[in-house]
Symmetry: C2
């Protein structure tokens, strides 16, 4: 069948399950925008700007696995690049369609719009190579093979790819007629072959010999859709697991094998002692980042850690390259012997009951336990970078609830658009709950206006404490004036942004927050709660961090 | 005097006249933020996000010449990079201070936050090299010489520079004690030397021989502070000038030598014929971009054009490198003989009187002439990329009014934060008027909340026509659904964003718009007018473009 380049490209993406494409239109992308609008298999998901589109696509990919984004050359792609870098660092494969200036203008000594006023048409392509795992500029001749290369790279690396499409080429006919397989596993290089079996045998040997073993499950389990596999491994082996902050909620925190948060000196000291005392730690993809290690306060003996990573396994000083996490976990689930002796009777500690009376101002001791109480099974909880993230780590999640944060890339403002993307990806039965600070929310606030067009009903809590609270705490008084943000009436924004039927409230006391939460339980619309805590919250928070370990219940 | 690296750096910037630093704080930038907050010579100008900070810094630089920006590594600098690229393409020197992760973490195999989860600390530095004219990562040892190199590059190229400052180095003491000159002209390589005189002699010879001569003044005149020089040249020579769209308002449109807009087939045909018929065209820095050439419909014979550019002059096929526009214009103003014969009696045509009755809906024939009538001498008019830009090109500006657009980089959403930056730079006597479409405004709307903290009183007109109108017009119906934007109650936003004393109105008829404009004339606060035109405006606009030439009065 004869088709245009862009028809081919989006059809190929559709075979991967892509149906929603986030973005902002632009004249160099018109043929892409047009093809998407005309093809009934797709929905165009417009956002207010491209950075927010990339965040939203990332939020969507957290739920659905893959996402797609479309922007124009230069202005659009560079606006999105921070979100793409975040997707790269935190394993979110985004197919980024970039509408480029026509190839006819590349060598014609003319200064097109969306350029630096030079003749270099590929300068942005060059700039962005670090934050995509693969890139191509498509032509009618190369588009089939290049698309296979890009898809292969995205699915192998689970990271964004750059699909540059010159405007004139987009509408050009391509001649080839190939049959395309739907089998994406072709991109995974190893299978349950002898290499995997050998590695698994080695792991099993270490585990069986170890007196105490603990599993640390990482986000890759969730990203790669290995939840069931990891659960089978847990259930069969009887091994316990602890969570690291970036990876919180990857496995069900109500599972009997869950022992709590492992977070260096910031976490539960009993969990800390137990994990570090284990003879063997099975690390299922956890990245040893600054946050995951409690700012390097965790002191794991890496000779006792077995790293089962995306494409390799490390046991001691031996590294087995090219063995895929997916197959290693599948084999491990079959071959680990059941054991009960390992189950340490650690009570999972959480935030306990909210402390405060109805007329009290909202302090941390009330707020975070109350939020934790509010969570329900299967909730999708999205927490922006900042002060809220740390206390909420200690909230024990209800069954099947998931917790999304961005503690490696840590770009504040990420969560509001990400919540939109996640909400769009979620089934109607799951609530999407966004918890964000005022400073973060100000970055990308306009994206709340996207929910109504898609009849989505998020629950949004905005902490109004007058600035970048986390930075007040860690930066000290010297930079205090830099940490002020503009004074907004947050609860009035949803109406102005077209979320006219939402339940909105501004709450300043514990009783008001309770009342608002009770209304949300019954209401059929989106909800947006401005929680005013004032600046003194900073002092409470500092204290909270200092005492966080003692506060755990 | 012993001082820290960051104390040195900001003191050095202060010698250039930098007093306001735009940005968003971040933990890697804390020492920079702290030094700025503690130094009474500076004001920290916070914005809601980094892209908007870069736009605001650009707006500020349009008025003041130079600007400074501070963001954190990775998340911050990449968010700002689109605005930096725009500043690069449109000649706005921004000193960008980037707070980097401590040098102690560079080789320690740890994954810090705001990284891609790799050990490469300089990946963002490498990515961004294309959009800065110079970059450095400062150390206590190199900071003095590197700062001189960066300042030299910024002032020579009139483009952004990247000043990377590792967190630990920022607070390190530097030993050297150098006396720093305030004389920035040291960065301009040529002066009124023999080279300049030779070039000017050659130009004068061509001009004197030519029967008809026309000047095209470019934005560099404004950027480089050469307004008075160019005016002297005009006044002495008696030569006429026409404006190109990107460069509109660089010289006073009420000057008797002004003949109108030269904009290829989109402009006044009389101006077009006259300019293209001239024996000599003195191009003072105009870039022959897609927009400036009326999408390549202008047909200048380049053998008749003398290009007086930033660092070179072209006469015919001869290029004189290393002669500075500044000195060439100064010399030219002295040596061009006065002539009157050249003055072509072209009446400058403008948008004429608004057409419509008070109860009529707001059509293009009413709106743009009415906006033009509203403009006053010395207004700073900032028009976002999109539909409004083109008709407003034909508005004849009152004396000393300036007109700012971004027709080369053309990043929609630019104007709202740029208006904040420009307003901050403006004296209180000058009004700052922002005219933006809804699609562009949605990109960066939150920045209106910055005006009140600085007691600024902008006048903002937002055209609510339900989407990306310019794209509906040029993209056609195929992409129409992509061009919808979320439905907002724009006039309710200022209150929610803390602009509580502003005059706000939503107008749908010519009479209502008139009434709102009359109130603005008297009011002492900021003003925000939502002008509802509906989608049918698109049809009018298309017609307007088609008929634009006939419509000129």
């Amino acid at each position: 069948m004869k088709q245009t380049l862009i028809e081919y490209v989006i059809s190929r993406l559709n075979l991967l399950g892509i149906t929603n494409i986030f973005g902002v239109p632009g004249d160099y992308s018109f043929p892409i925008n047009g093809a998407i609008c005309e093809d009934k298999r797709f929905r165009w998901i417009g956002t207010c700007n491209e950075l927010n589109a990339s965040y939203a696509a990332g939020g969507y990919a957290r739920i659905k696995g893959l996402a797609a984004l479309c922007t124009t050359q230069g202005v659009g792609e560079l606006s999105a690049i921070n979100g793409i870098a975040g997707a790269y660092s935190e394993y979110l494969p985004i197919f980024h369609l970039v509408g480029m200036q026509p190839s006819t203008t590349w060598k014609s000594h003319v200064y097109m719009h969306h350029t630096l006023g030079t003749e270099e048409h590929d300068v942005f392509f060059k700039m962005s190579k670090y934050v995509y795992c693969a890139q191509a500029i498509l032509t009618p001749e190369n588009c089939i093979s290049e698309m296979e290369r890009l898809i292969g790279a995205a699915l192998y690396n689970w990271r964004p790819v750059y699909i540059g499409i010159p405007k004139d080429y987009a509408s050009s006919m391509i001649q080839e007629n190939v049959s395309i397989t739907k089998n994406n596993t072709m991109y995974i290089k190893s299978d349950s072959s002898s290499a995997v079996r050998a590695v698994v045998t080695a792991i099993v040997e270490v585990v069986q010999k170890a007196k105490t073993v603990c599993i640390l499950p990482g986000i890759l389990i969730s990203r790669l859709g290995l939840y069931d596999t990891a659960l089978a491994l847990l259930n069969r082996s009887g091994l316990v697991f602890a969570s690291t902050p970036m990876d919180k909620g990857v496995l069900d925190e109500m599972h009997p094998s869950y022992i709590g948060m492992y977070f260096g000196h910031y976490g539960d000291p009993e969990v800390y002692s137990f994990v570090e005392s284990c003879n063997c730690i099975l690390n299922l993809g956890v990245m040893m980042t600054e946050i995951n290690t409690g700012r390097f306060t965790s002191k794991l003996d890496f000779s006792k850690v077995i790293d089962i990573m995306h494409h390799h396994v490390r046991i001691g000083s031996s590294i087995f390259q090219g063995v895929e996490m997916k197959y290693v976990l599948q084999e491990l689930a079959k071959h680990l012997s059941p054991r009960c002796t390992n189950v340490k009777t650690l009570d999972v500690r959480d935030l306990g009951l909210p402390k405060g009376s109805p007329d009290d101002p909202i302090k941390v001791e009330y707020l975070y336990p109350r939020l934790a109480q509010f969570f329900k099974p299967a909730d999708t909880i999205i927490v922006d970078v900042g002060t809220s993230f740390l206390p909420l780590i200690y909230a024990r999640l209800p069954a099947r609830a998931t917790f999304h944060n961005s503690s490696l890339w840590a770009s504040i403002g990420w969560a509001t658009p990400a919540a939109f993307g996640a909400s769009l990806a979620n089934s109607e039965q799951r609530r999407t709950i966004l918890i964000t600070g005022d400073g973060a929310h100000q970055m990308s606030v306009q994206e709340i206006s996207q929910f109504p067009s898609h009849r989505l009903k998020p629950i949004i809590f905005v902490l109004n404490n007058g600035g970048y609270l986390i930075e007040r705490i860690i930066g000290g008084s010297k930079i205090d004036t830099c940490n002020d943000v503009a004074s907004w009436d947050y609860h009035e924004l949803p109406k102005a942004f077209g979320c006219s039927d939402w339940f909105t409230a501004k709450v300043t006391t514990c009783g008001e927050l309770d009342q608002a939460m009770r209304i949300i339980e019954r209401c059929e619309t989106g909800a947006y709660i401005e929680i005013v805590t004032g600046r003194e919250f900073a002092a409470f928070m500092s204290e909270f961090y200092r005492l966080s370990i003692q506060m755990l219940h």
